[in-house]
Structures are given as C-alpha cells and as structure tokens.
Amino acid sequence: MLSKSPPLADLVSSNIVIVAGKGGVGKTTVTAVLARAAADRGMRVLVVELDGKPTLAQLVPDLDVRHISASDALEDYLQEHGFKRIAKRLAATGVIDVVSTAAPGINDLVVLGKIKQLERSGEFDLIVVDGPAAGHAITFLSSATGLLNSVRGGPVRTQAEDVSAMLCDPQRCQIVLVTLPESTPVTEAIETSFSLEDRVGVQLVAIVVDQVDTGCELADPETIELDGAKAHVDAARAAAVFRRSRRAVQTAELDRLSRELPLPQVRLAALPVAGLAADDVAKLAASIAGEP
C-alpha cells in the first residue's frame, strides 16, 4: 500500500517544487496540499500560479500566492537586461509578441527565470508552482533546453543556462507529477515521466495519485444480509457493486502505475465533495504529513 519512506519530507526538500500533469488530474489540489503541508511544518512557503485563476488563493487563504504571467515576466526581463528605456515601447508596439514568436519558449523561459529569481531571493524555504495547464508541462519545462540549442549567445542564452541548471539540480528543483487512478491518466503520467527524463533531464522523486478511494472495505453485497424495505436494500447493493467495480479499476491502474513507473506513490484520498475547500486541503495535507 502507501509507501512509507518518501512522502512529504522528500517532496518538499528542494527549494522549488513544480507540480505537473494533464488537465483535470488535480494539479491545483496537489499544489495547495503540498504548500499547506510544508507551511504546517513551519516552512516559509510561496505558491506560484500561472493561470490567473483565483482557485489557489481560496484553497490556501493564509499563504502567499503570486501570479506570474508570461507578458509581465518578459517585460521585467527586458527591463532588467539593459532595455529599461524601451521595454515599455517594446510592449506597446507588440514587438514583444514578435520576440516571443521568433524565439519560441522565451515566454516559458522568462517565467522560469522569475521563479529562479524568487528562489535566489532567499525569502522562502519552499516555492510550490502550479504548473501550466493541459499538455504544456513538457514544453514549459523543456523551453530552456530548446533555447540552448537555438540561441547561441546573449542574455537569453545565459538565462537558459541558469534555468536549465536549476531544473536539473534536485536540491533546488523537483518536479512532482500528478495523476488519477484511471486508465488514461496513468498512461499519460507514464509517458510524461519518460519525456521529462529524456527531454528535460530531470528525475522524478515521486508521483502523486489524486482522488484515491481509500474508503473502508466493502464485502460482496450478495453475501451480506441486509434489513429493510426492498428498495433500500437494492439501492445499498447496487451502490456496493458500483463502488467495488470502480475500486477494481483503481487497483488495476495503481498496480500498472507501480509496475511501469518505479517511483514512490503518494496517494491523496478522494473526498465525497464536488470541489475542495480550504479545510479539505488541510485534511489532505495532514494525511501526508506523517509524524511531525
């Protein structure tokens, strides 16, 4: 079952944790839970989100949550790299769009550069980043490697070298992959982790499986005597058959994940709610905290 050694301490041992995974698997939940758990251990935590959605601030209302947008990061970057006078004009004329198209990945690179800057400020023990949505995680993380191949000199290259060094140093930065105990997300998580190793050169420390049914054991309903009117008894039996079938899917997928991706798994319980609130996040954080 739940692996004892890695959980929280290992997950939050680096300066930066980037949470990655396909849309809908619960990246934001995991970001909030890791941040909450680390803050509860007394760490100074910064949460970074890239989407501009208000969700994270609601899930961890007392933590420092900052939004980093690519266009602001690029403008800052230009200001800090000798284009102070014309950075505004570059933005106003839309030349910035051209720059970011001319050197693809530059948007992602300046965002990662901003995160690196926050890391270097020494203000935080841990920075948890809610990674970009959908399939962009690999593109986002491989932006530095890509630019190292295409840009031969200048400030972009320096930045790409610095970011690449940050991503490949497990003391400084770790990537936490999130998945669900279902067929498609597990397949995608396996593919993504291999691409991350091949294309970005990072080793994953653990994989977080979100929404795991950890409820108590359910016997085969046909073997159990139930009292009550037929309608009630039938409902209880049908519900048990359904839940057992979902669990069989889950068990098979978790086994496949363990077999094909030999990483410690951190499992977060599925809660019977349609959207988490701050106290749910606190509960989940406590569940992975282990001994204080």
């Binding site: 959908a134 840009v151 200048g154 498609t184 309608a231 409902a235 519900a239």
Partner: protein, 378 residues
C-alpha cells in the same frame, strides 16, 4: 443503475446531431471533450449521417477509444462501427487528428501566389517556430480544418473537439489570429525596409529592432524579417479566409456544446463560457456533463446513515459498511447535482445533459456506445 434522466434528452441532443452541420465541443482541460465528441459522432453515424470527428488531443485518446491502434493521422480515417442490436449504422464515422504544422503548410500553399513564395515561407525558420509556437496557432488550424472539412463532400457533419486552451474563447478568436499578428505595428515596422527600398541589414539600425536582435540574436531577427517580407501580398487571402471561418461559426447550423465535469470549478467555467458565447451571439445548444455520480435509490443520505448506525450497534460491520457506502455515494450524487444548478439556470435545465460515471473506465468503443445509449435513450 437508477439515475433518473429526463426523456427530453433524446429530443434535444438527438435533434442536435440530426440538424447541425458543425458541432464545436468546448470546455476546460480534462472534462472529457474528446469523449463527448466521439459519442456525438457515433450517434450521428447511427442516425445515418456522414460525420467526421476532429480531435486536437495529442494523447491519442480518441484513437484509443475508437480502437485505432496506429493512432489517428492528419487525414480522416473511416471507423468501423460494430452492429448494435443486429443493425449496422447507416451513416459513416470518420475521425482525424489535427496535425497543426502540416495544416499550416497547407493553408500557406493555398494562399501563396506561387510555389516559390510558398517554399520561401514554409522553409523559413521563423515560420516553423510560429507554426509550432504562436499562441492560438492550434486553435487557428482547428478552425481551418473545420472550414475545410465542412466543404468536403464526403461529410455532412463536422464535430470538433477544441484545443485544451486556458481560455476556451481562444477558439472563437482563432480565425483572426494570423491577420491580427500581421496587423501588428511590429509587422509594419519589419516591412518598412522593403517598402522604402532599404536593404534588410539596415533594419538593425532601428533602435527597436536592434533591441530585439540583442535579445534573440541577429540570426533569429534576420529570419523574422525575411518571413514578413515573404509574406507580402498574402495578407488579404488570410483575411478573407478568417472572415469565412468566422461566418461559419455563426451559421445557425453550427452548434456549440459545452462539456463539463460536475466539479465546482469546471461548472463555473462552463457557465462563464456560456455567457461569453451568448454575448458574442453564438448558439449554445447543450451542455454535456460527464461522469456525474449516479444516485442509488430515492432515499436520503440521512436514511442510509441511520441504517449504518443501526447495523454498527448490532455489531454487523459488513452491513454497516454497505449502508455507509450508500450514504457516501448519495452525498456525492447530491453534491454533483447541486453544482449543476448554475449551469441549468444559465442555459436552461433541458439543455443540460448528464452522463453518468460508469462502473468501469471509458476507453473503448463499447463504453462510448454505452454512453451514447444513455445519452440518446436508445
């Protein structure tokens, strides 16, 4: 499974796949857009239509679901639908995966004055970067594919599964993405040297361009300038095409279907998107909510919980677990339905169609069929 479902579903979604020429499935990432698109496609084919489903999803989900081991190619492929109840479908189901760079090349070739101009553009490094990386390119090409397939005689219904963008509205703006890019002051700036007869190299003397050159390197800048110069004369073609695609999206036979999961966030996003669509005078025909927890029995959560307590008191822990499970699944089912309320208010209760969470995973034709049967009350 005893999830209750209004019989109106059939008329509503059934009418939709009978009457539409184009169906656009939109929603945030991970809500099951591809599944919804495939299910609508299967149903349309069963009803005798010649339908093509276009997916942008790089995860090959649709290919997997449709049982295509080799994955989907950039060309439509005919899917063999199994007979249902001894009846073969009278229509056809085709599926294709959008190959964004290949589609972009095709569009450039269609608009270029001659092969030479097309080659110059297609081989330009800036263009290659742009075809991969300009934000909105995927959406732009999805809308191009939509337009092209709409005009293809093999099909009478095109279903597109929109890219998993952070902002679902990107798709609506997509047809104009390149023309807006070309309208940029930057573009005019970069075109300046040809118009004034100056040599390309002198571009570097302009302070702004000099700055860009220092950031991205002079080679990249040279590629950029030559791309914009090669593009001269093609703007109007692209502009006309963008208008045509924009018009197609506003046809009365083009229907938008929102796809959501019964979670607070995705429902909120679907509601927001519905409002945006209506504000832009698009037609929202239905919302498909995937993976809604089925409700077992009409009894209350409290009733199941009380039965659980009684069983526990009697020391019957196995029975208590069964009642506790019933209470928990009812809690979740009720929570899901409660989350859907704002969506029902936004687009009308009858337009919200629930797809139940199945007892097994959906990753083959059979499971898609099961959903279609539920959705269309076959």
């Amino acid at each position: 499974m005893s999830s209750s479902r209004p019989d109106r579903n059939d008329t509503l979604v059934g009418e939709l796949v009978d009457a539409a020429d184009v169906i656009v499935c939109c929603g945030s990432g991970g809500v099951g857009k591809t599944t919804a698109a495939a299910v609508l496609g299967i149903e349309a084919a069963r009803r005798g239509r010649r339908v093509v489903v276009v997916t942008i999803d790089p995860a090959r989900r649709l290919a997997d679901a449709l049982g295509l081991d080799g994955g989907l190619s950039g060309e439509p492929q005919l899917i063999a639908l199994p007979a249902v109840g001894g009846e073969l479908s009278t229509g056809q189901l085709w599926a294709m995966m959008l190959d964004t760079p290949a589609m972009f090349d095709k569009v450039v070739r269609a608009n270029a004055a001659d092969d030479e101009q097309a080659d110059r553009i297609v081989h330009n490094r800036f263009y290659r970067n742009m075809a991969d990386a300009l934000s909105g390119t995927q959406e732009f090409m999805a809308s191009e594919a939509l337009h092209e397939l709409h005009g293809d005689e093999r099909f009478d219904l095109v279903i597109v599964d929109t890219p998993p963008s952070r902002n679902a509205l990107d798709f609506l703006d997509a047809p104009g993405v390149l023309t807006r890019f070309l309208d940029h002051k930057a573009f005019k700036l970069l075109m300046l040297p040809t118009r004034t007869g100056l040599k390309v190299l002198s571009v570097a003397t302009q302070p702004l361009l000099k700055a860009i050159g220092r950031v991205v390197g002079s080679e990249v800048l040279a590629d950029t300038v030559s791309f914009f110069q090669s593009f001269a004369g093609m703007e109007s073609g692209f502009r006309d095409r963008a208008d045509a695609v924009g018009q197609l999206l506003r046809e009365s036979t083009t229907k938008f279907v929102l796809v959501a999961s019964p979670q607070h966030d995705t429902v909120a996003e679907a509601v927001w998107f519905a409002e945006q669509l209506v504000a832009h005078e698009f037609v929202v025909s239905a919302a498909v909510v995937n993976r809604v927890q089925p409700r077992f029995g009409d009894g209350s959560v409290e009733d199941a919980a009380a039965r659980c307590s009684n069983a526990t008191e009697r020391g019957d822990h196995a029975a208590a677990a069964l009642w506790a499970n019933l209470a928990e699944l009812r809690t979740l089912a009720d929570a899901h339905r409660c989350e859907l309320a704002p969506l029902r208010t936004a687009i009308g209760a009858e337009a919200v169609v629930e797809v139940p969470q199945l007892a097994t995973d959906v990753h083959d034709l059979e499971a898609l069929e099961a959903i279609a049967q539920h959705l269309f009350a076959r």
